[in-house]
């Protein structure tokens, strides 16, 4: 794969990696009295391994110029493999942490394995590790196909994939050591945040440059979604993570925001991470892999466009619904609630557009588990966005807030929508990228589908029950005017649901393991597809290529 880089690109890669090796060494030396030193060592080792890989082929001959008339898919392939590795890690920690809630002894009395450290390792592992890698890998694939143009260069996609995964490793390993800035879904500390900004800006520039080379007159709606995902996540990440390090030789920093402003910035970030990371990016996936797999035209071009602008506009206002009945001024809560209600319309329009696209292909949904993954994802997208708008209504939130209902809602979205659309898209794209006729085993895709669906339903129903029960127990008064239940009694009442939740999660994890096995067998042991269809997956040759060759 590295041999596909030109000798100039290999030298640039080596230079970047040497610089990173030095940065890692400097961090390790300066932070030797702190956990920062461990992170320095991780940066050092990570870039050293990559440096050796690059140096081992640095004097090899130049790659064939004919590669420039093909799509550049190697970074997507690596990204897909990393997606599945992170899936098993993130979901595995998720099952563990869910089991801890039912059986607290599973923390084994160690600091690193305590609930407070495992929980962000789970959320970061699945959202950023699994979801982020899936988004990056598929965005490269979709962007090239729908623009009919090769990626703008060969080095920056690798920088994005490996740089992004370095961020994920720093984040997750930090949580185990107790490094956190205590902002939900933004726990990574200042140096990891700065690194992610560098990676993310590179990603955005690469995306725009490739888009500028497109051979189609318009920009396909999937690319609008991917672009919104990249751009807005950059803005959110930078604004929410502005912090002052205690010292340049230590991991700890303090946010420049405090009090209710801090809470508002955090949930503006948090809710738009849901919107632009977990929704917009994955809608980009949906808008490509659904019509491709179903072989049906998109139900309505106009609906896709107004939904896109509706979603991007309304979501920006909705974050304050996370702070109902808090110190946040009442008027901000009102705005968050009302925009969340209006947000339902473009959300359902997107879900409807997806399902209506399947008209004429429902027999395929019945027979093809891959397309069924995508269909179920659209249904869960609709369910979750309805639930989200409902929970954002202030009096409803009075019951649901701080309960497991929120956890159930998030997982209806994360399992039913994000993971289902990802698996559906991956099962579609893997045979295309590796030029195989199909996945190694369609039966295993079917097994994965049912494991995932059962797991999701068990999980979500358990959390609906426990959340509503919990909310009601917290607010039930007896005739004396006192709360009827002590907190301890509400915890005891949750126990059976926590067991059910851990079991649902276990089924979902089992599905991901089956999927990873299927991926491995497809890459290693499935014969290549030599048909014309596979060979015809090429960009339109044109003015871009002369530029690319000189780059």
């Amino acid at each position: 794969m590295i041999r596909q880089l030109t000798s100039g690109e290999r030298r640039s890669a080596a230079t970047i990696l040497v610089a990173l090796v030095i940065v890692g060494l400097a961090m390790a030396a300066a932070g030797r009295a702190d956990t920062l030193g461990v992170h320095g060592a991780i940066v050092f080792l990570y870039s050293l391994v990559l440096l050796f890989l690059v140096l081992s082929v640095i004097f090899d001959p130049e790659p064939e110029p004919s590669r420039l008339s093909q799509y550049y898919d190697d970074p997507s392939k690596v990204g897909i493999v990393l997606t599945m590795i992170w899936a098993i890690f993130g979901m595995g920690v998720g099952v563990w942490v869910a089991a801890q809630l039912a059986w607290p002894e599973l923390a084994f009395d160690a600091a690193w394995s305590s609930f407070g450290r495992l929980r962000p390792a789970h959320t970061t592992g699945v959202i950023f590790g699994f979801g982020g890698n899936a988004l990056i890998a598929t965005s490269f694939h979709v962007l090239q196909r729908t623009s009919r143009a090769r990626l703008a260069d060969q080095l920056s996609p690798w920088f994005v994939v490996f740089g992004y995964n370095l961020f994920c490793i720093l984040a997750v390993s930090g949580y185990f050591m107790g490094i956190t800035q205590s902002k939900e879904y933004a726990e990574a500390e200042w140096y990891a945040d700065i690194w992610l900004v560098v990676v993310w800006v590179t990603y955005f520039v690469l995306f725009i440059r490739t888009l500028a080379r497109r051979k189609e007159p318009h920009i396909y709606v999937a690319n609008w979604y991917y672009m919104a995902f990249i751009l807005v996540v950059a803005v959110l990440h930078i604004v929410n993570n502005i912090a002052v390090p205690v010292s340049l030789t230590g991991a700890k920093s303090y946010s420049i925001y405090s009090g209710v402003q801090d809470a508002m910035v955090q949930w503006w970030y948090g809710h738009n991470a849901v919107a632009f990371f977990l929704t917009a990016g994955f809608l980009g996936m949906l808008y490509y892999y659904l019509p491709k797999r179903a072989e049906r035209p998109i139900f309505s071009y106009r609906l896709s466009i107004i939904s896109f602008w509706g979603i991007t506009f309304f979501y920006m206002w909705a974050g304050s619904h996370h702070l109902h009945y808090t110190a946040l001024p009442h008027w901000v809560q009102t705005l968050g609630m009302t925009f969340s209600v209006m947000l339902l319309v473009p959300s359902w329009a997107s879900a409807g557009n997806a399902l209506a696209t399947l008209n004429g292909a429902w027999h395929k949904v019945r027979d093809d588990a891959t397309l069924r993954f995508i269909m179920v994802a659209s249904v869960f997208y609709g369910l979750t966005t309805f639930e989200g708008s409902f929970l954002a209504i202030r009096p409803v939130n009075g019951l649901s807030h701080y309960t497991d209902w929120t956890v159930g809602h998030v997982h209806a979205g994360a399992l039913g929508w994000v993971a289902f659309i990802t698996f559906g898209s991956l099962y579609s794209v893997i045979p295309w990228l590796w030029k195989k006729k199909a996945m190694y085993s369609a039966r295993l895709v079917e097994v994965h589908f049912w494991l995932a669906l059962m797991g999701t339903i068990i999980y979500v129903f358990a959390m609906w029950n426990s959340g509503i029960l919990q909310g009601l127990m917290w607010r039930t008064y007896n005739d004396s005017g006192t709360l009827a239940f002590s907190f301890l009694e509400t915890v005891i009442a949750m126990h059976p649901y926590y067991i059910a939740r851990a079991f649902g999660g276990l089924l979902f994890l089992a599905g991901a393991i089956v999927g990873t096995y299927n991926l491995y067998m497809t890459i290693r042991y499935t014969p290549e597809d030599a048909t014309e269809k596979a060979a015809g997956d090429l960009p339109v040759p044109g003015r871009g290529e002369a530029v690319a060759a000189g780059e």
């Binding site: 007159p217 035209p297 106009r302 009102t334 209006m342 004429g360 907190f487």
Partner: protein
């Protein structure tokens, strides 16, 4: 650009865009989408008119209903306090026996006490008050500091070996570690103490050992636990003749207690609970031991 075609399934025309084989239909936006956009907007508009909503430069629109969450909370707390004040003032005015004789008031005390116990006491004493090693069982009728409501209320207020100035204090010395007793003496006195609640241990063969233990006991233990070993609620010295053991009643557990001493801890609740809450908890905890509860006459 591909040619504009008619989709055979829906009968719609395509837009003529071609994205790597993906076409789009030129379906107009369904009316239902516009309808619900209007409906949700009107809903929002009404809400904005009624509630605090839009920021102005130095203030914000207050809303036609004049509702604000801070005043809402204050009002609901006031209303709840007013509703409770009827029986709470009753509780404050009456003494222990008057309250215990008042069935309606006691029903409220038990309801509220149950919740207070769960949120404040259950962490150590267990959800049903049965305690655990080092944490007294409140249901066994065996009271270390007295089981009438007044004594319990005092324990709650000042705690045991707590930070309160007038805390109840009690400490069992470390007879072994501090060299007061040797190994044989500890073993003998432990055997004697066990024989008090387990008569099967007193056999002709062990009579000598028990006699030696009793001697040690008389010289070292009676000042707190009493000559009959029935304890003393004024000193917080447990009764050693029953089958309830705070730190365990096996031979090795008793030896450990005598060797290293004991000094339990219960926090003071005066600053954390309101006086009427302490009153309710004392009454509630007093009922936990059921009918068999010990009273003052147990101490000598």
């Amino acid at each position: 650009m591909a040619a504009i075609e008619r989709d055979p399934v829906t009968g719609r025309l395509t837009t003529g865009h071609d994205w790597n084989g993906i076409a789009e239909l030129d379906t107009p936006i369904p009316k239902v989408v516009i309808f619900f956009l209007v409906v949700t907007f009107l809903f929002s508009l009404v809400w904005w008119i009624l509630m605090p909503a839009w920021p102005l430069i130095t203030t914000y629109t207050r809303g036609a209903l004049g509702i604000d969450q801070r005043t809402e909370v204050e009002e609901s707390i006031e209303a709840a306090n007013a509703a409770r004040s009827i029986w709470l003032s009753d509780l404050a005015a009456k003494d222990w026996s008057q309250i215990q004789a008042d069935g309606t008031l006691m029903a409220k005390v038990k309801e509220t006490g149950h919740r207070l116990f769960g949120d404040n006491c259950a962490v150590c004493h267990g959800a049903s008050g049965t305690g655990g090693p080092g944490f007294p069982d409140l249901t066994d009728g065996d009271w270390i500091w007295g089981g009438d409501p007044d004594a319990i209320a005092q324990t709650l207020r000042v705690g045991v070996n707590s930070a309160a100035e007038d805390t109840r204090t009690s400490q069992m010395p470390a007879f072994g570690r501090d060299g007061v007793l040797d190994r044989a003496q500890i073993s003998d006195v432990a055997y004697y103490v066990r024989s008090l609640s387990d008569p099967s241990l007193a056999t002709p063969e062990t009579a000598d050992r028990i006699a030696k233990g009793k001697e040690v006991f008389a010289a070292n233990c009676v000042s707190c636990h009493g000559e009959d070993a029935r304890g003393n609620v004024d000193l917080g010295a447990p009764n050693l003749t029953d089958s309830h053991w705070l730190y365990g009643g096996s031979a090795s557990q008793i030896v450990t207690t005598i060797f290293g001493g004991r000094m339990g801890h219960m926090p003071t609740w005066e600053a954390r609970l309101a006086p009427e809450e302490i009153k309710m908890l004392a009454l509630y905890v007093a009922t936990m031991g059921g009918e068999t509860q010990f009273t003052g006459e147990q101490s000598q």
